[in-house]
Symmetry: C2
Subunit: 673 residues, 2 copies
């Protein structure tokens, strides 16, 4: 392709964009891995966006009212690193660019929000970024409704590729954004017609323009290498009340020998071809060299937002002190001081009244007292509001005419919900929680993993957490999902036994700053087991002695959630036969593992027979507590599931699978010999 | 709603449909759980379909050229049970209907293919059925291309609700069906405007008609209670070269007090309201009573396909014996006799030549010899063909002009691929395998679980199985995915160490009849560790002694995949210091767990220090082999990951995380004291 026309038509623009292209070529070549073609293809769009529209201050990339930029096509990470370096970001130095993808560098293969402040969100798994962006845009609407346009008024920009749009989650995101008319969400589609396997039409012939329009978007179609068209499209998008998709016809790896081919997607490292591409760009700088004039033009762009930020700071200072404090507290993910006392009061009350309720109801009881004192919480459910018990009276429903609403009807979109919640939390000012059936952790899983990986304290309210689901049968009965969540690093998996433990779990989940929480909650009623009020949060210890042996201690029963009351029943039977039995409630294995060895030994002393009870597979982390921590194989057993469930009334299923006091007693006696 | 007009316009049709409605009301009321509204709402569509179009023989519901009926909205299971009972299916008796959702009944809460022959596929998790259906329709096209229209010529019908269409996976299915112009796929959309949380527009305002058209579908819009319109639409759909979506405007829980409300979605058990609905239908039968005349009309419908089946059997008999045998063998999921010898020959060759290749390449080497002798295999990849090494030379690419093609470019659609592969295998005649990066198990997970639950031997080729991914970083580096797959019942998780083990794993995967397989394969090269040719398939044992201690045995190193060669290196170092070390390769924990205790003890005798080595989290099933099976806590250790990975060259990552021979030796010495 002869780039002369492009170069000469807008030389100033061209050189700024060429700087991105040259850096992408050099960094990928140096790393000998990465993706060159996308940064090259989208350099024009990114340049115009940053130069003319993007509200950004390189000297303070995290100020609250900045525009958000989300690279949903995260493999093109050199685009964002090049932009940040050029604009003068203090973290992404030339040295970092040179160490792209190397050990210890913040310029990781895919952009990581926990490494670079200006990276809003970790991307790479396709379709996530565009779905996170829906949450960013929702959070912006909510915050704007609360604090006013003078304090909150920014856009969320996304670059998405064909991969993002082929992933199913994108439809969930598109549907949500259209439904809620998120006018400040602007998606650039890098329409280059290339995927790894070849041209897009090998696998898809969807008319994306029609598809977005079907969900209520404004769609603009432009030449993605024409700076004027890009500028005008962004201008039109900013004016729209609908979310906008700008279909940018681009050439992947523009000007390189691999242009318009699937080869252009990956690492373009051939030195001669690299040089030929640079020549075609009219780029004379050596490797990693950006001519001073171009660099200084970019730094002007990076400084452009400074005055906007300062003006914002002045406007922010005009808010009442109370509003400022609330805003800052929520952005810092600090829980209100009242939270602790509120939880304690609830605990005291339920320890006394000892209700027999499902823990999903317990969760609602906790939320009923939490939501009024934490205006930053935003709840929701993937079309199971009445089952997940996620909606409390005071929230209001988020809608086009009620942006203050704090409850989102996510629809049947577990994955989109999880990703959007992650986006909300990362946007700042919001703590998001959302519900579905625990079994459908499966659908939300890619976003749940990213919450853990990128340190987002989203709360996943997962009800119907075992065969206790009953008649809906094995498709709806989780057996391996506790194992899945517990195997994931940096995730708190709570399986509370009653309302007291549920309230304690919520307190931890809503004070966590870098760890997502999964609350596995029952469909069926459970008795209150924490009948003695304690001020301290026992769930915080992960596990604790719920009931000490009365006779000489021969047995420790370790149980979670609905099986804690099974353990208590079994204990009563065993004690009646003179077999001293300690019951350990273990609502959070991760927190127990974090305790010091002395505490763990105190709870699980060597010697007695240990039986774990959980209506799930043993692979869910049990062997460490049964066989490890000075446990002994001959003295350890497990009462749980080793297969998928079945469709029948819940009580009958617990009988069938032996997850009962009788089954537990039998297991204990077998081990005692 | 006054139903008089509907009743009187087509009384014969009405009564047949009313039988479905009455049975759904009675069965759900008796179970006191379930979903009444959907079977009532779609009774007219189902009646017309079965009466006028559906190729079905109740006396032989599994004959190969039957039409397929997939209830994607699986919660409406009483629709399918009522249809089958009425039509005279021998399994779904009146007694089964009366025991809907009860212990031991085949009429489970959601339809289960392993309980009822006429249920093509387990549904319930929304969006799966419509995506399975894409696989069914693809398999039909492939089989038709191979055997001719006289032997293979049937439709795949789907009922999908709003939930199915909101789930992201539906977009993947819609895109695939449109791309491949699956004209024999006909989807009825139960357009009742109701979800559990309320009206659909609470969460979605997508124009579904436009959306399907955007992906190349024919769309027909009808009144879903008008039998003539239904009939004509099906007629038009059957003529279409494009896949067809028939948007059926229906009333959920038609004629019941809960009609057109979200309440109508669930269990309608109020006796008075139930009776009032029956009255509105003009239904005079008592609970579970179907007037003889109506029942006999339905049985005629159920018998209608008998002559079609017999005619088909005659046509089938005209095929060459070879073609018949091949057809029958593939439908029975019998591997060809040659498979075993072919695998042995490959094993022998690589034991001798000892290539150093990535196991993803080993997998390709296995497929290169397998695909030519197993014409029923269909391969594919979610846009990572060159990385997953799933395409062999002889397959040909499935396309509109090459229905014989055995390779599918699935696009960036891991979830849709997995669900469609499940559908292909359930259709019969096809063994499907498909690849993506192991980390994206997350995206495919709901369909992978259903493969396990509903006993489908799909093969998931998961490459790039650890931090060996290198620079792409933690988003692309699985650490918990082995744990996830191993925690799932009825799943073989293979992590082969070299080409020999990979070939053995493929042999097991392609002979399995009821268990899906996950092959976790490396990106990076590995040495051949099975240098001595053995005729027997060692992977079948799950674990085996790869190298015995030379000095007095003090240590057992247990490793999988890429870490087996690390163990061999560590062994060499330890033996050099006089520390006798056995190396156990454990490519499949599930198969090892299935061996008898004597074998397990032989491989893992009590006494020596045990160290597990796997570049993944210990929660991936390790404690059973380290602490259990007569292991001892003081003598057990693990070399692996306890956090997410990082972006850097692979070799440096293994060093950083200590997953090396040196790290292993250090761990052993620490344990030896």
């Amino acid at each position: 392709m002869d780039l002369t026309a492009l170069r000469t038509a807008n030389p100033e623009h061209w050189n700024k964009a060429a700087a991105i292209r040259a850096l992408a070529l050099d960094a990928v070549a140096a790393a000998n891995s990465g993706h060159t073609g996308m940064p090259i293809g989208m350099a024009d769009v990114a340049t115009v966006l940053f130069e003319k529209h993007f509200k950004f201050d390189a000297s303070n990339p995290s100020w609250p009212d900045r525009d958000r930029f989300i690279l949903s096509a995260g493999h093109g990470s050199m685009l964002i690193y090049a932009l940040l370096y050029l604009a003068g970001d203090s973290q992404v130095t030339l040295d970092q660019i040179k160490n792209f993808r190397q050990m210890g560098a913040i310029t990781a293969g895919h952009p990581e929000n926990f490494l670079v402040d200006a990276v809003e969100v970790t991307t790479g798994p396709l379709g996530q970024g565009i779905s996170n962006a829906v949450g960013f845009a929702m959070a912006e609407e909510m915050q704007r409704a609360h604090y006013g346009r003078k304090v909150v008024d920014h856009h969320t920009y996304v670059i998405a590729g064909d991969g993002c749009l082929m992933e199913g989650i994108s439809q969930e995101a598109i549907g949500l954004a259209g439904r809620h008319q998120l006018g400040k969400l602007i998606v650039f589609w890098d329409n280059n017609n290339i995927t790894i396997d070849g041209t897009v039409d090998l696998s898809d012939r969807t008319n994306q323009v029609q598809r977005f329009k079907a969900s209520g978007w404004q769609v603009l179609e432009i030449d993605g290498h024409d700076p004027k068209a890009i500028d005008e499209a962004i201008e039109a998008a900013k004016k729209s009340k609908k979310p906008s998709m700008i279909a940018c016809k681009t050439h992947i790896a523009l000007g390189h020998a691999a242009q318009d081919t699937s080869k252009g997607h990956g690492a373009l490292t051939d030195p001669e071809q690299l040089q030929a591409a640079k020549d075609a760009y009219g780029w004379t700088g050596g490797p990693f060299e950006v001519p001073a004039e171009i660099k200084s033009q970019w730094e002007e762009i990076g400084a452009r937002g400074k005055s906007e930020r300062e003006a914002w700071e002045a406007r922010f200072a005009e808010l009442s002190q109370q509003k400022q404090d609330r805003f800052n507290r929520a952005y810092a993910l600090e829980a209100p001081k009242k939270l602790s006392a509120t939880i304690k009061a609830l605990k005291k009350q339920v320890s006394e009244t000892q209700p027999s309720v499902a823990t999903r109801k317990s969760s609602e009881m906790a939320l009923e007292v939490i939501n009024p004192i934490m205006p930053e919480t935003v709840g929701g459910s993937a079309d199971l509001t009445g089952s997940n018990n996620t909606k409390t009276g005071d929230l209001g429903v988020f809608d086009t005419d009620n942006r203050k609403g704090r409850y989102v009807y996510w629809g049947i979109r577990e994955h989109g919900m999880a990703a959007a919640m992650n986006g909300m939390v990362l946007h700042g000012g919001v703590r998001a929680y959302g519900g579905t059936f625990f079994c459908f952790t499966d659908y939300a899983r890619p976003a749940m993993r990213l919450a853990a990986l990128s340190k987002i304290p989203t709360v996943f309210v997962m009800t119907h957490d075992s065969i206790g689901v009953g008649e809906d049968g094995p498709t709806h009965q989780p057996v391996e999902h506790l194992a899945i969540c517990r195997a994931t690093p940096n995730t708190y998996v709570f399986r509370p036994a009653d309302t007291v433990e549920t309230a304690e779990a919520w307190e931890i989940a809503l004070t966590a700053k870098e760890t997502p929480s999964v609350l596995a909650l029952t469909r069926q009623n459970l008795p209150t087991v924490r009948t003695e009020h304690k001020l301290s949060n026992m769930v915080e210890k992960g596990a604790y002695v719920l009931a000490e042996a009365e006779n000489k201690r021969q047995v420790i029963l370790i149980a979670t959630g609905s099986e804690v009351s099974v353990a208590m029943e079994a204990k009563a039977k065993l004690e009646a036969e003179g077999i001293g039995t300690r019951v350990v409630s273990m609502p959070c294995m991760e927190l127990f593992a974090e305790q010091d060895e002395a505490y763990r030994r105190k709870i699980l002393p060597a010697g007695p027979v240990r039986v774990g009870i959980e209506a799930a597979v043993r692979a869910g982390g049990w062997d460490r507590w049964l066989l490890g921590e000075r446990g002994q194989e001959k003295k350890a057993g497990f009462v749980g599931m080793d297969r998928f469930g079945a469709s029948a009334p819940a009580g009958e299923l617990f009988e069938k699978f032996g997850i009962t006091a009788e089954g537990t007693v039998a297991k204990v006696k077998e081990l005692l010999g």
